[in-house]
């Protein structure tokens, strides 16, 4: 049972690692967010998914 306890400790360490990571700037997520906003401001993608029927004929 010592082993399970050990594994639990590792799991806890991994989890706290993730929490720590979130404090750093998430560069990839920021890029995605920027691209989505640029799409809208520059209207690079028409039909922003607002209309369920998609493209107009």
């Amino acid at each position: 049972m010592n082993r399970a306890l050990y594994a639990l400790l590792i799991a806890a360490a991994m989890l706290s690692g993730c929490v720590t990571i979130n404090i750093y700037f998430p560069a990839a997520a920021a890029e995605k967010a920027a691209d989505r906003i640029i799409d809208e401001v520059w209207q690079l993608k028409k039909e922003q998914g607002a209309k369920p029927e998609g493209k107009q004929p």
């Binding site: 082993r3 399970a4 594994a7 639990l8 590792i10 799991a11 991994m14 989890l15 690692g17 993730c18 929490v19 990571i21 979130n22 700037f25 998430p26 560069a27 990839a28 997520a29 920021a30 890029e31 995605k32 967010a33 920027a34 691209d35 989505r36 906003i37 640029i38 809208e40 401001v41 520059w42 209207q43 690079l44």
Partner: protein
Amino acid sequence: MNALKRIALLAALVASAAWAQGNLEINTPAISQIKSGMQARHAQLAPHYASGAVGLGADGTVALRDASAVPLAQRQAVQGLVAQENADRAALYREIARANGHPEWEADIRNTFAQRWIERAQPGWYVQSGGQWSRK
């Protein structure tokens, strides 16, 4: 051994779930409002990007880089557009940082946007890097 495997699997799942949350919040009323203002303004700015009068700066702003490309009568109006656009952009970067609970990310967000605006600029538009303007 089985217990160990299960716990490891569980840990991996939780870890990946935490990673998958890697989306920034951009759907707040404040952000939407700034965005729609910028969208409306873009129709007026686009011809000036194309003429080279206005370029995309390295710091996530726009700049009137060649006023002579704008007819004298319109120059003041374009300067106003540029100022309004930059005010909105500054507010956008600040609001995104705030909406995600990290006001200190503002500069990082600005830098990310600066790169993306430039990367996605249309051919013929002027973009700035290292203090130099170049035409895409």
